[in-house]
Each structure stands twice: as structure tokens, then as C-alpha cells.
Amino acid sequence: MSAVELSSLQRPNDRLRRRRAVNRGMEMLAWLAAAFAVFFLGFVVWSVAQRGGSQLSFDFLTKSQVQFAPPNVKQGLANAFAGSLVVVGLATAMALPFGILIAIYVNEFAPRRIRNAIGLTLDVLAGVPAIVIGFFVYGLIVVSHGQSAYAGSFALAVIMLPFVYRSTVEVLALVPNSLREAGLGVGAPRWRTTLGIVLPQTIGGVLTGTTLAVARVAGETAPLLFTDSLAQRGMHWNPSQALQSVPVAVFELSDSFDPNDHARAWAAALVLILFILFASLSARWLATRSKRKIMRAGR
């Protein structure tokens, strides 16, 4: 913005009243937009909280699903919680080391050209629709080996990877070079400097990114439909078979004719939202904490 352009904004005084009216109108519109959005967004959250809240109970958290059960049978979504725990846990176990290694390579070793290529590739990966990833894993694993929690978690790991990578590479870039120089200066080899000095500085940032990625994939349905939806009833923990998961359960229950199933879907949705909320709050807390650490360490 140059000063010349700014001066062109000055208008003759006789149009002042009109200009003020336009200004007030636009401000009103912005207020309205905000009110409208807050209403709608609040409506969603309130619907889930109100309908799901009354359903949350000990049984809901500890009992498994029963199909075509009479209303007096106590049931919950424990099998889905267990399955989600396994699938998301395995996905994290796959994506985390992989993403961190890529970030180390990109930030510490790679020449500029390769760095850009990898960054762009992972950006493209982040933009690939989840349903396409699901179909990819279907073709890669499910067609030959059948559905399993392993297949599902691999699909989720593919989605997590760009998140983990990006958050790690961003904090690695923040680590001041003085630290690297200090490490090398006292004679530590490069790998010890990287793993022992540089990487620990980034733990907060990596945790932040991982937490956000976990929050994101915990609610993903599309990649699991083709890879991990043919679950058997009851509590199961074995990842070599397909396991029920919370988002798939919500998707299935929403298609039921039974209002009790809808009620369980709401409760599951509420649990998901609470989990995601908790995860993003802790991520934010971690982020501010770790940034401060790195800044202080640099001084």
C-alpha cells in the first residue's frame, strides 16, 4: 500500500454523511454475519450437547452395541470406543516417527530443491479427500487381505502424516542455529546434535501437531468405510480384524429407524466433540508453552 493510494481514499466533505451511512450499513452487515454464524454454529453444538448429554451414562461407556435389541436391554458404544482407541493409536504410531523423520531430513539435511518438492508433495497429500485415501487403501490392502483395523489405521496414518510433518518442520525451523553450533562446537557429531539437542527443543511443537492430528482423524469416517467397517459385534481389541469405531458407529446409527439408535448416535457425537475440544485445548496450551521454551533457549 503506497501513500498515493491512501490519499485517494480522502473524499470531499459534502459526501461525508453518505459515507458514514455506508460505513454504518457495512458494520451492521458484519455484525449480522457474525450473529448469523454464531447462531448456526451454536445451534449445532447445542443440538449435540442437548441430545447427547442426556444419553451419556456409565452403561453407554462400558457396554457394547446390541442389534435389534428391545429398549430395555442396556447397551452402549464401548466396542466403538475400544476400536477407535486401537485404530487411532496405531495410526499415530505409524505417522509420528515417519513424519518426524521427514521433517528432520527436510530441515536438517535436504537441499533446497528437494525440500520444496517434499513440502509440496505433502501439501498435495493433505488436500487429497479422505474418501480417496480410503479407496486407495481399499485397493492396496483390503482387496487382497480383507478389512482390518490395521488397514483402517494405515488410512488414518496417511491423513495424519502431513499434519505431523508440518508441525514438526515448523518448530525445527524455529530452533536457533546457535544451539546447533553449540552442539557441534563441543565436538558432538551431527546426529547427536540433531537427536539430542535440536529435536528435544521441538517436542512441544511435535506434541501439539500430533494432538491436532489425532483430534482430526479421531472423527474421520470416510477412510474407515472401505477399510475398517465390517466389524463384528461385541468387544474386540484384535487389530487384525475389522473393529467398530466411533465415527462409523455414528454414521450407521444415523441410518437407523429406531429413535434409541439416534440417541446413541448423538451421545457418541458428543463424546467425539468433547474429545476433540479437549485435544485442541491441550494442543494450544502445549503450543504456547513450547514456543516460549524455544525462544528462551535461543537467548
Binding site: 454475519a33 497429500l125 488436500g127 469416517t221 457425537a269
Partner: protein
């Protein structure tokens, strides 16, 4: 979601002439292999989708893309993406048109107008909404929103604006319009939160300078904030659009799985992602499965293009700002 700021600058490789030690080689090797793995992974995705769609591409060729047909009946099998491409375009463009002005309104409200005590909670609400899973929005859409639209909003729009073919007779609870509203709610927080950050990043000297020259707040926004943040807002819109195009679950839950090109927004429809999502339990024939993968291929190509476009917009905006 893609990063607007993935590449950050930091000085690299400041240590010349160190002895290459074994440990260094191991670390650099594993990290390099992992990076290679990422490239291979993306290549594998493209290859699997391209290879999987081969039978369908051989059977129907390029006209698949615009043919309005999806007939899985034994002996009459014929598939085409036309109907779903149309549905995807209508729902995504519709959602973008609805979401952008509202999102800009919220962003301006949060960055320029809102009293301090409102800012925090509203910002938190918007960010929370960006994180709500699509299956939850879909659940809300089909059980709460759809009946309201069907019983009140759709008939009202039809009787008030029925002369426009878009607002034809309404009877379905799940229809294209419901999908547009659901997608709007999903992309609104994305565009709003990115725009808010962009608006806040406008240097305050510029803003104060404009106000000091006697402009009204709106004139300042139009003359300073919008031009400054314009490129970023365009990129945010592109990302929101990409998200809407790629969304499968929430759309599948509320759009009603119709086939054909219908101008009436209150008719049922289907999108690329929605069609794929609804057939996960088995498509009934090998050619149908392959055709679904062909749909996924279209979606994949489109998502890559959208992503590159967003990157391009961001880079160009950054370069222009650098020159200014």
C-alpha cells in the same frame, strides 16, 4: 486443508566440513528414506487409483466424465460421472457463495469491530466448528436441519421465489439444498478463521494511516484491508471450495442420492464423494467398483489442481506484497 505457511525460512546446513560419521550417515539415511517414502506414498495413491479405474476407463473412456447415467442392472451396465459432477459443482459453488460473504463478515467483525469480551468466545466457537467431524455435522444435518428445511424453509422459498427454476416444488427432506447448507456450515469456519488471521496481519500503521486521513472504517477496510489480504482470502476460498468438493460423508447423509441433472435445488442429487461413500458395502459388480474408482480419480485430480492453485495464489500474493 493445506498450509499457507508450510515453508518457513531458517538457515540450514551452517556446519561445513564435518567428518562424516557413521551415526550421521544412519540418521541422514533413515530420514532420507522416510522422505522418499512420502513421495512414493503419493505416487502409490495416484497409481492405485489410476490402475483401479482402468476397466472403467477402457469401457467408457473420457465420455464417462459427462455421461449422466449410473445403471448397475445386470446386462445393461453403464456408468458416467455427469450427474455427480453436476451435483458436486452445484453444492460446492452454492456453499462457497453462501459461506464467503458471511465468513468475511465474521472475520471483519472479529478483527475490527467486536468488543474485546466477545472476540475470545466467538473466535473459539468458530475454531471449534472447524474441528467438528463431518459425520457429526451430517448427523445434525439429517436429524435436525433436514426436517426444519423440509417443513418450513423449502416451502417458504418455493412460494416466495418459485418463479426461479432453482426453487421448484419441495417434498424431500434430504435434497441438494440441505447439502448446500451443510457444506456452508463446514467451510464457513475455515474461510472465516484464515481471513481473520489475514485481517489481523494487516500492519496497523496502514490502517491507522487510512483512518488518520479521515476515511470511515468501511473505506479503510475496502481500501487497505481487502487489497492487503485479498490474495490470502482467495486462497482461503479455494481451500474451502476444495474441502466442499472433497467432502463425502456429510453430503452422503443429507443429499438423498438422486440421479440426473435437476435445476430444482429441492430435488435429490448426488456428488462424487457422496456416491463413493454410499457404495462402500459393495457395488454389486466389478465394473461398478471400477467406475467408483474412476469417480475417485476425478476427485483426486481435482483436489491436486485446487491445491496447486491455492499455493500459486499464496505465492503470487506474497511476491506482490514483497514488491509493494
Amino acid at each position: 486443508m493445506s498450509s499457507l505457511d508450510a515453508t518457513t525460512s531458517a538457515a540450514r546446513r551452517p556446519f561445513p566440513g564435518r567428518r562424516a560419521r557413521f551415526g550421521d550417515l544412519v540418521l541422514q539415511g533413515t530420514a532420507g528414506i522416510a522422505s522418499l517414502g512420502a513421495l512414493v506414498l503419493v505416487g502409490l495413491i495416484v497409481w492405485k487409483i489410476v490402475a483401479g479405474s482402468e476397466p472403467s476407463r477402457r469401457a467408457f473412456g473420457l465420455p464417462f466424465i459427462w455421461h449422466v447415467v449410473w445403471n448397475p442392472v445386470h446386462g445393461r451396465e453403464a456408468y458416467g460421472a455427469g450427474s455427480f459432477l453436476f451435483g458436486t459443482a452445484v453444492t460446492s459453488i452454492g456453499a462457497l457463495l453462501l459461506a464467503t460473504p458471511i465468513a468475511l463478515g465474521i472475520a471483519l467483525f472479529l478483527s475490527e469491530l467486536a468488543p474485546g469480551w466477545i472476540r475470545g468466545p466467538v473466535t473459539a466457537l468458530v475454531e471449534t466448528l472447524a474441528a467438528i467431524p463431518s459425520v457429526v455435522i451430517g448427523l445434525w444435518g439429517v436429524l435436525v436441519l433436514a426436517p426444519i428445511l423440509r417443513d418450513h424453509v423449502d416451502p417458504a422459498l418455493h412460494s416466495a421465489l418459485g418463479f426461479v427454476p432453482l426453487f421448484g416444488p419441495a417434498s424431500y427432506g434430504t435434497n441438494v439444498f440441505t447439502a448446500i447448507v451443510v457444506l456452508t456450515i463446514m467451510i464457513l469456519p475455515i474461510i472465516a478463521s484464515i481471513s481473520r488471521e489475514l485481517f489481523l496481519s494487516v500492519p496497523s500503521e496502514l490502517k491507522e494511516g487510512a483512518l488518520g486521513l479521515g476515511t470511515t472504517r468501511w473505506e479503510m477496510v475496502r481500501g487497505v484491508v481487502f487489497p492487503y489480504a485479498g490474495g490470502g482470502v482467495a486462497a482461503a476460498m479455494t481451500l474451502g471450495f476444495g474441502r466442499a468438493v472433497g467432502e463425502a460423508i456429510a453430503v452422503a447423509m443429507v443429499i438423498g442420492d438422486g440421479l440426473g441433472i435437476h435445476v430444482n435445488l429441492f430435488d435429490t442429487g448426488q456428488t462424487l464423494g457422496g456416491k463413493i461413500a454410499l457404495n462402500y458395502q459393495g457395488a454389486g459388480s466389478a465394473l461398478a467398483t471400477s467406475s467408483l474408482i474412476y469417480l475417485a480419480l476425478i476427485l483426486l485430480v481435482f483436489s491436486i489442481l485446487v491445491n496447486l492453485l491455492a499455493q500459486f495464489i499464496v505465492r503470487r500474493a506474497a511476491r506482490r506484497k514483497g514488491l509493494a
